[in-house]
């Protein structure tokens, strides 16, 4: 078989040569483990982001100025500083303040993407809540619901339908952004790929396969986003 390609040099040598591909495919389990870590960080990070985003979104529409102010500061801080700095803060700076606190890298990843995308989801939720007419809140309050109860039973269920497409979009970005923990040895897909590739210089094939791994996680969500958008337009 290899005789057939004898004269085709780039398959024998260079960044994308067949031996490099072979080496990669015999170590795919390493990437698989990294992908599991990525999925773990992404799913728990998304859960945290949704929880934080809902709270921030509700606070942004509150009639209490102080709550709106806190939400505003949170959103502006996380939206206007790089995720990487936030992760470095947790990884490098926090242990200097509290040497006894050792946060596992995976938890740093979850907190990092969770808080960062929580800010974005907060803005999405705020826009969704504000798109629901004032009459809905008034009807709920007039029936004796508390503000939080009105949000929970009346406003947020309606807002969720509207914000589902932008939310799935945020989920896609969150999955991709989990790759920042590669820089702090997070053990995720990006880290697993990069450390494998760096050991032998198999960068080309590894980055392609790692990229494909992220694509396979994100693309179904992107398709879902488009479907949801069509459905929203349909009604």
């Amino acid at each position: 078989m290899s005789g057939l390609f004898q004269n085709i040099g780039f398959l024998q040598q260079g960044p994308f040569s067949i031996p490099r591909w072979e080496a990669l495919f015999s170590h795919l389990d390493v990437l698989g483990q990294g992908a599991l870590v990525t999925l773990l960080v992404a799913s728990l990070g998304l859960a945290l982001a949704l929880a934080l985003g809902t709270v921030i979104g509700v606070m942004s529409t509150s009639h209490w100025k102080i709550l709106r102010g806190i939400a505003r500061v949170y959103v502006e801080f996380f939206q206007n500083t790089p995720l990487l700095i936030q992760v470095f803060m947790l990884y490098n700076a926090l242990p200097m303040l509290y040497p006894q606190v050792m946060i596992p890298v995976i938890v740093i990843g979850i907190m990092g993407v969770g808080m960062y995308h929580g800010a974005y989801i907060g803005e999405v939720v705020r826009a969704g809540i504000q798109s629901i007419g004032r009459g809905q809140l008034e009807a709920a309050l007039a029936q004796g619901f508390s503000y939080v109860g009105a949000m929970r039973y009346i406003i947020i269920p309606q807002a969720m339908r509207i914000v589902l497409p932008p939310l799935t979009n945020q989920a896609v970005n969150l999955i991709k952004n989990t790759s920042v923990i590669a820089i702090i040895a997070g053990g995720d897909l990006m880290y697993a790929g990069d450390s494998f590739a760096g050991r032998y210089g198999h960068y080309g094939p590894t980055y392609i396969v790692v990229g494909l791994g992220y694509f396979l996680m994100c693309f179904p969500l992107a398709v879902l986003t488009r479907r949801l958008e069509d459905r929203t337009k349909g009604v």
């Binding site: 809905q136 007039a142 029936q143 109860g149 309606q158």
Partner: protein, 241 residues
């Protein structure tokens, strides 16, 4: 049952309610009429504190809602409101619209809330629509559901804020018929409306509100046969034709 004492409401520079004093005894059907922008809606919305007065007292069921930490949400459970724009919950079925607050807010068991809701839906002639969504109903039907939703809280007071103003003409009567039917029960009612026929038929007392002040009040007969103030006469001459 309801007592407004020296109620003032300002929206910025706009003085919407001026020293309103009004008492509604238990069981009374009070109709509030007056030109648009005269403060009718603001007045009725002060009764359940959807608008907070700038000053004065709002006493409902012997509780001053202007007091510090007044149990406003608790009082609202027994003061139901029907809105001009229905404000049904679009993500809930007709039946769920009627049962949600009783179950969640008042802690009524689901079976009981469902049973009474179906009874009230029957009363407004919409029992067969119980499993549909509000968007599938006409405006008149939606408003009747809103009335059933209000009734299922078993309120002591019903507030109607222009309940027929957003309806197509052919649907006004079906809603008025339901409200008139209610008026014959013992419930206390405050109705803001432009429907003079309704005022005539259902009201114990009519209040004419203009420019944030109660200009004149009396029985329906007094208003339609013998109004005293020029502003009342002018308003009625425009609206009764």
């Amino acid at each position: 049952m309801i007592k407004l004492v020296d109620v003032n409401k300002h929206f910025g520079l706009h003085h919407v309610l001026k020293d309103i004093n009004l008492e509604v005894p238990m069981g009374e059907k009070l109709v509030v009429i007056g030109p648009s922008g005269g403060g009718k809606s603001t007045l009725i919305r002060c009764i359940n504190m959807l608008e907070r007065p700038s000053s004065g007292h709002v006493v409902v069921d012997a509780v001053d809602l202007m007091a510090h930490r007044a149990p406003i949400a608790k009082i609202r459970q027994s003061v139901a409101m029907v809105f001009q724009s229905f404000n049904l919950y679009p993500h809930k079925t007709v039946l769920e619209n009627c049962t949600l607050a009783p179950i969640v807010v008042k802690g009524v068991p689901k079976e009981e809330a469902t049973e009474t809701a179906l009874g009230y839906l029957e009363r407004v002639g919409l029992r067969e629509k119980a499993d549909q969504y509000p968007a599938q109903l006409s405006g008149g039907q939606q408003q009747r559901v809103a009335i059933a939703r209000a009734l299922n809280m078993h309120p002591k007071v019903m507030l109607f804020d222009e309940p027929t103003s957003a309806l197509d003409p052919e649907m006004i009567q079906e809603v008025l018929d339901v409200i008139i039917g209610l008026a014959h029960s013992g419930i206390t009612m405050v109705v803001v409306t432009h429907e003079m026929g309704f005022a005539h038929e259902a009201a114990d007392r009519v209040v004419f509100l203009d420019d944030g002040m109660i200009i004149e009040e009396g029985t329906p007969e007094h208003f339609f046969k013998n109004p005293q103030h020029d502003r009342t006469k002018l308003f009625l001459s425009k609206i009764l034709r």
